[in-house]
Symmetry: C2
Subunit: 669 residues, 2 copies
C-alpha cells in the first residue's frame, strides 16, 4: 500500500488537554507521593536552595536529618521493601527529587543492608536485625565492592575463614586490592555491614602441611566455597571502630556527597559462625557446608539474584530525576525568548527547530521510560510473590537492561537539559548540574551498564538456544520465538511505503523494532559460533562485543516501546491519548533512526528513511504546544523541584525570572 | 578499482614509538609550558588535591592566589595577549589543567576586560589602563550579558545616555531584565567594567515633547546608536561599591566556583564622555556621533569581531582539558583489569572491544582537534597582524565553528571518560567530574554553540552566493568553489570499492568529507530559497535549522580533517606517522559514519558502509597498543594532572592504585 506521501505542510498542533487528567493516568500512587511531599513542605529546613555550598560533613548531616524526618513522619522504608515493594520504589522516586543522596543513603540502609539481611539471611537474622535496621538504630553497609574488583564480583578476595575451635569466622583483607571500597554508610554512620567474602573451611580430611596457606592452621588446607555474605559489626554504640576494623573516608565524590562512602580493611576480625547469611548455603558447627542449591555457580547466581531490587530502584529514581530535569528545561525554554523576526517580538527558545529536536524526543523517551519502569516494578513485585522461575529470569534481564538503558539515557539527557537552559541552567540553584553529578554514578553502580547489557544478551542467546529444544520462552521475548521459529521473516522496513498512516502504524513500528532484535540475535549467534571455534568463548565474545551490546539495546527498546504502546491504548481520555500516541510514535521512530543496522544493509528504503526523518521533525513541532502540559502531568510540586527557572507558577515570559531574581538577592516588586 | 576485501584477520598492532619524539612534534611551545609547570611544582599550596571541599569563597581565594603567583613569577598575560597572542593561548592551556577557574578568571581579566580596552578603545584608554590591568591592580569585568539577553546581544537594554550639560554618560538599567548577569570578577574583585549599553544621544534638532522618553531631558528625543562599550568604575580602592552600583553574587554554579560571577544593576551612574571605548564610533563634546564605519550593523560586527580571541582561547583550553581526561582514562583502563578467560589472569578494561570503541576514536578526535586549534591560533595570530578582510571572515567562521565543535565534543568526552573509569572515576580526587562541571558552560558562553554554528552556515551561504558573482573565496573553503562551480560532482562514496587501501586513502576521505559539505550547502541553499518565498527569511531559516547545523558541522569536520592530514604528512618520524595516520583515518571514517546524510539517500554503498565499520573496529584494536604512548605525548606532568589513577609513573597493574590508596589515607609500603 502506498498512499499520499508525507508533506511538511500538514503540521498542526495537538489538542490541549487537562494535565491533571494525565497526571492521574500516569501514576497510581499519588497518595503516597503527596504524603511525602507534604511532609517536606512542613520542613523547609530540610530543603536548602542548593547543596553546592555545603561541606560533605554538612551535606551528610542534612541527609541524615532528612532520613530521620521520614521515619519520624511514620514512613517505614524497610517495611515497604519487605512487604509492599511498589511503595518502596515510589518513595525512592520522591526522595530522588528532594536530594539523590537521600535516595542512595536510604537505598544503602534498606535495600542493600536491610535487603541482604532479609533476602540472604534466614528467619533468625530477620528477627534479630529487622527492627533496628528499619528504625536506623542500626545503620549498616553493603560491603561488596573491593578496590580491585567491582564488576567481577566472583573474583572478590576478602576472606572468611572458619575457626573450628572457636566456632567463628575470621574476616580478613588479604591485600590492599581487597580493601572494601565505596561502601555507603561506612565513613560515618555504619555500625555493621553485610560483608561479601570467600567462605573458606579447613579441610579436616587433609593433613599434609601447606606452606603459607593462612595463619590459622598452617597445616590445614582450606576449601573455598566462593563468595558469601556475613554480618560484621563495625562500630560500637558510641561510634568507635571495633578491633581489626580500619575505615577511611572515600572523600569527595563527583556527586552524592550526602552519602558517607568509606573504604574498609579487615584484620582478622572474628564474628560468630551464625553471622553467615545462610539462606543459600550454611555451615554447621562441625564445619560441614550444605546448600539447597547444587553448585557454587547457582548459589552465586541466587545470591546476586536477590539484589535485582536495587536495580529496579535505580530505574525508578533515574526516571524521576529525568522528569524533574525535563520539567525545568521544557518550562524554561517555553518562556525564555531570544531573537525573532525583524521588528517583531522575540520567540521562545523552544520554538526553534534545534531546541525541539533536542528536547521533544527526550520527553517522548521520558514517557516511554515512565511506563517501562512501572512495568518493571509490577513484574518485580509479581516475581517476589510467585517466585516463578521464568519470571525470575525475565525480571533479571529486564532490570539489568532497563537499568543500563535508563541511566545511560538520563545521564545524557541531564547534560542536554543543562545546555538547553543556557547560562541560567548553569546556576547551581537551578539544580541541573547537581542532578547530573549525583546521577552520573548510576551508570556504574549496582552493575556497570556495559556489563549488565552483556547479561541481557547472554540471556537472550540462552533463550534462543533453548527454543530449539522446545523450552517455553518468557513472555517479554516471546516474539523472538515467533520471528525466529524457522527463519527470518521479511523485513517490514524495506517496503517503499512512505505514507504517514503507515509510518505511524503501531503494527509497523512494533514489527520494525522486533525485526531488529530478532535479526541482531540471529546474526550475533552466527558470528559467535564462527569465532568461538577459533578464539574460544571468551575472546569470541569480546570480538563480538559491540554486536552484543547492540542486541541488548535493540531488545530493551522493543520492550520499552511495547510498554508505551500498551499505555497509549489503555488511556481513555482522547486528547491525552493523542499526545501519548504522538510521543510513542516519536519514540519508536527515533529508535529506528538511531540504529545503523537499519541503514547499512538495505534494511530501510532511502525514501522511507527520509520520510521518517521529516515525520519526526513534524511530530516535534506538533508536540511543542502540549509540551508544558506534558511536564505539568509529572506533578512535581514547586517546593520539591525548587529550580527558580522551572517553577509551575511561571505564567508568562516575564514571570520566569522572578524567583530567580529573588534567589540572587534582588528585591522584586 | 576493487581490491582484496577487508578482513578482520589482518589486525596487527602499530609499531611502538618514542613518546618524546611525538611530544616534540605536537608542540612548539614546550619552553613556556615547562616554565609554567615548574612554577607550580614549587607551589604545592596552589595545587590542592581537590577543590570539591572548598566553599566558593575559599575557591575564589585560591584562584586569586594562583593568578597573583603567575604574575609574580613574571608571566604577563595581557602583554602576551596584546603582543604575542600564541603565548597567551598556550598559557591558557596550561592553566586549564591546573584549575579551569584560573583560565576563566584570567580570561575575564585579560582577554575580555583587558581585550575590550585594548581592542575597542583607543591609545588614550590603553595608556591609562594597560599597566593596571596587566598587574591586576585594576581587576575588571566584561559586562555584556543581561538577565534576559545572552545570545541576542543586539537586543541589550542597558542604556548609556549622554548628558550634554555635564559631558557625561549616564549608565542605567531600565528594568530587571537588563540587569547584567554572570559578570565574571564582579562579585568580589572587579573595580571597573566594560559595560555594553545602548549609546543614546539627545536629538538637539528635535524640540517636540516626547512623553516618558527618559528622565534626563523629558522634552528631548534620544537617538539610539546601538550597543557600545563604556568603562564604568564599580568599586573604590577599598573595595566599596560606588554610588548607583548594586552587585549581587550569582552564587554557586555547576562548576567554575573559583570565579566570582556577579549580577550588576546600574542606577543613573555617571562616567566621563571619554569613557566610551570609541575605536569604532566616537562622540564629541557637542554630542555629535561619528564613526569610520558606515552603518550600525558594521560597527556592531566590528565590535563583536574583536572578541573572537575569546573563542580561540576556549578552543585551546577545551582541547587541553580533553587531553587531560584522555590521559587519565587511557592510562587507567590500560591498567585496570576485570574478568578474563577461565583460569587465566584478568584482562585490562581497554582490551575490551566496547572500551576501545568508546575511547580510541575519542583519542583520534583529540589529536584532530589539537592540530586544528593550532591551525586556528596560527590563523588568528596572522589575522591580528595583517587585518586581511578575507582572513577576518575566515577566522570568524573558524573560531565560531571550532569553538562549538570542540566544546561540544569535549563535554561529551568528559562524561565518557568518567564512565570508562568506573567507580574510581567518580572519586573527586581523580578530577574527571570537576573537569566536566567546570567545562560544561564552555558550550554556552562566548557564544552559545547552536548560535555559533548558525553563524558558520550563514557565512558559507554568503560565500556560496558571492562566488556566483566572481568574488574570491577564503582559503579554507576554496574547495567549495571547485566542487560547486557548475554542478555537484559525482559522489565518491557510492563506488563499491571496499579495499582497505581505498578506504584509508586520504584522497578518498578528503573528497568524501568535502562532498558532504558541498552537497549540504547546495541542498540547504535550495530549501532556504523555497521556504523564504512563503515564510520570510526568519521562519525559513528556522524551518531549515537542523539542516543549517548539519552544514556547519560538515564544514568544520572537513577543515579539521584537513588540518590533521597536513600534520600526518609533515611528521618525519615514520613510526609516529603511522600512528597519526591511523588516528586520522579513524577520525575521518567516524565523521562519515556518523552522518545520516551518507546513509539515507544512497550516498554510500551498503557493502562499503559495512567495510568501513569493520575497518574502524580494527583501527581501534591496532591503536590500543600505542594508546598509552599517544597520551604520554601530551606530556602533562603528574603534579599538574594530579589524578592518582592517571599518573605517568604507574608502570604496571599493581601500581595504578598506590597513589590512590595514599590519597584515601591508607599506609602503603
Amino acid at each position: 500500500m502506498t498512499g499520499k506521501p508525507y508533506r511538511q505542510n500538514s503540521i498542526r498542533s495537538l489538542p490541549t488537554f487537562d494535565s491533571h487528567v494525565l497526571e492521574t493516568y500516569l501514576d497510581d500512587q499519588r497518595e503516597l507521593k503527596n504524603k511525602v511531599y507534604s511532609m517536606f513542605r512542613g520542613r523547609p529546613d530540610l530543603l536548602p536552595e542548593t547543596v553546592e555550598g555545603l561541606s560533605k560533613e554538612e551535606h551528610r548531616s542534612l541527609v541524615r536529618r532528612q532520613l530521620i524526618a521520614l521515619l519520624e513522619a511514620g514512613f517505614n522504608p524497610l517495611d515497604f521493601f519487605s512487604h509492599d515493594v511498589r511503595k518502596y520504589f515510589y518513595l525512592g522516586e520522591c526522595l530522588a527529587l528532594v536530594d539523590l543522596s537521600l535516595t542512595v543513603k536510604s537505598g544503602v540502609q534498606y535495600s542493600l543492608w536491610g535487603g541482604s539481611v532479609v533476602n540472604l539471611g534466614t528467619e533468625m537474622h530477620r528477627k534479630k536485625y529487622f527492627d533496628d535496621i528499619a528504625s536506623f538504630r542500626l545503620p549498616g553497609c553493603f560491603a561488596m565492592t573491593e578496590l580491585k574488583h567491582g564488576s567481577n564480583v566472583a573474583a572478590l578476595q576478602t576472606e572468611a575463614v572458619l575457626d573450628l575451635m572457636t566456632d567463628e569466622w575470621v574476616i580478613h583483607t588479604p591485600d590492599d586490592g581487597a580493601i572494601k571500597w565505596w561502601i555507603g554508610n561506612a565513613a560515618d554512620d555504619g555500625r555493621a555491614a553485610s560483608v561479601f567474602a570467600r567462605l573458606k573451611i579447613p579441610d579436616t580430611s587433609s593433613t599434609h602441611p601447606v606452606p603459607g596457606s593462612g595463619h590459622l592452621r598452617p597445616q590445614v588446607q582450606l576449601i573455598d566455597h566462593g563468595v558469601h555474605a556475613f554480618i560484621v559489626p563495625l562500630r560500637d554504640a558510641s561510634g568507635s571502630l571495633l578491633p581489626g576494623i580500619e575505615i577511611k573516608d572515600c572523600g569527595y565524590k563527583v556527586g552524592l556527597n550526602g552519602v558517607d562512602n568509606g573504604a574498609v580493611r579487615f584484620t582478622h576480625v572474628r564474628v560468630p559462625r551464625t553471622n553467615l547469611l545462610d539462606r543459600f548455603g550454611t555451615v554447621d558447627k562441625g564445619g560441614c557446608y550444605s546448600s539447597p542449591l547444587t553448585s557454587q555457580a547457582r548459589r552465586f547466581a541466587a545470591t546476586l539474584g536477590e539484589l535485582t531490587g536495587g536495580r529496579v530502584g535505580l530505574c525508578c529514581s533515574s526516571v524521576s530525576l529525568l522528569k524533574g530535569a525535563m520539567t525545568i528545561a521544557i518550562r524554561y525554554t517555553s518562556h525564555r525568548e531570544q531573537f525573532g523576526p525583524p521588528d517583531s517580538p522575540e520567540i521562545a527558545v523552544l520554538d526553534y527547530q534545534s531546541s525541539q529536536t533536542k528536547l521533544i524526543p527526550m520527553l517522548a523517551s521520558c514517557y516511554a521510560l515512565h511506563f517501562s519502569k512501572n512495568f518493571l516494578v509490577k513484574q518485580y513485585s509479581e516475581m517476589k510473590k510467585t517466585r516463578d522461575p521464568h519470571l525470575v529470569e525475565e525480571v533479571h534481564a529486564l532490570s539489568a537492561g532497563l537499568k543500563a538503558y535508563v541511566t545511560h539515557f538520563t545521564a545524557n539527557a541531564l547534560s542536554v537539559c543543562r545546555e538547553s537552559c543556557g547560562g541560567h541552567g548553569y546556576a547551581a540553584v537551578n539544580r541541573l548540574g547537581m542532578m547530573r553529578s549525583d546521577h552520573d554514578i548510576f551508570q556504574t553502580f549496582e552493575g556497570d551498564n556495559t556489563v549488565l547489557l552483556q547479561q541481557v544478551s547472554a540471556l537472550l542467546l540462552k533463550q534462543y538456544k533453548s527454543q530449539f529444544k522446545g523450552a517455553p520462552l518468557t513472555s517479554s521475548y516471546r516474539f523472538l520465538g515467533q520471528l525466529l521459529a524457522s527463519s527470518l521473516p521479511s523485513n517490514p522496513l524495506v517496503t517503499y511505503d512512505t505514507d504517514i498512516r503507515h509510518l505511524r502504524d503501531p503494527v509497523f513500528l512494533t514489527s520494525a523494532l522486533e525485526y531488529r532484535t530478532a535479526r541482531t540475535l540471529f546474526t550475533l549467534s552466527l558470528r559467535l559460533r564462527k569465532h568461538r571455534a577459533k578464539l574460544g568463548a571468551f575472546h569470541a565474545w569480546n570480538q563480538c562485543l559491540n554486536h552484543t551490546l547492540n542486541l541488548a539495546n535493540a531488545y530493551i527498546e522493543s520492550v520499552v516501546y511495547k510498554c508505551f504502546l500498551k499505555a497509549v491504548e489503555e488511556c481513555l481520555d482522547p486528547d491525552c491519548r493523542r499526545s501519548l500516541k504522538a510521543l510513542s510514535d516519536l519514540y519508536a521512530l527515533r529508535c529506528i533512526e538511531s540504529d545503523m543496522l537499519f541503514r547499512n544493509e538495505d534494511y530501510i528504503a532511502p525514501a522511507k528513511a527520509k520520510a521518517m526523518q521529516r515525520l519526526m521533525v513534524d511530530l516535534c513541532s506538533e508536540l511543542r504546544g502540549v509540551a508544558p502540559a506534558l511536564v505539568d502531568a509529572f506533578a512535581i510540586p514547586d517546593h520539591i523541584l525548587r529550580a527558580p527557572i522551572g517553577l509551575s507558577n511561571s505564567t508568562g515570559a516575564s514571570d520566569v525570572y522572578k524567583e530567580y531574581l529573588l534567589a540572587a538577592g534582588f528585591d522584586v516588586v
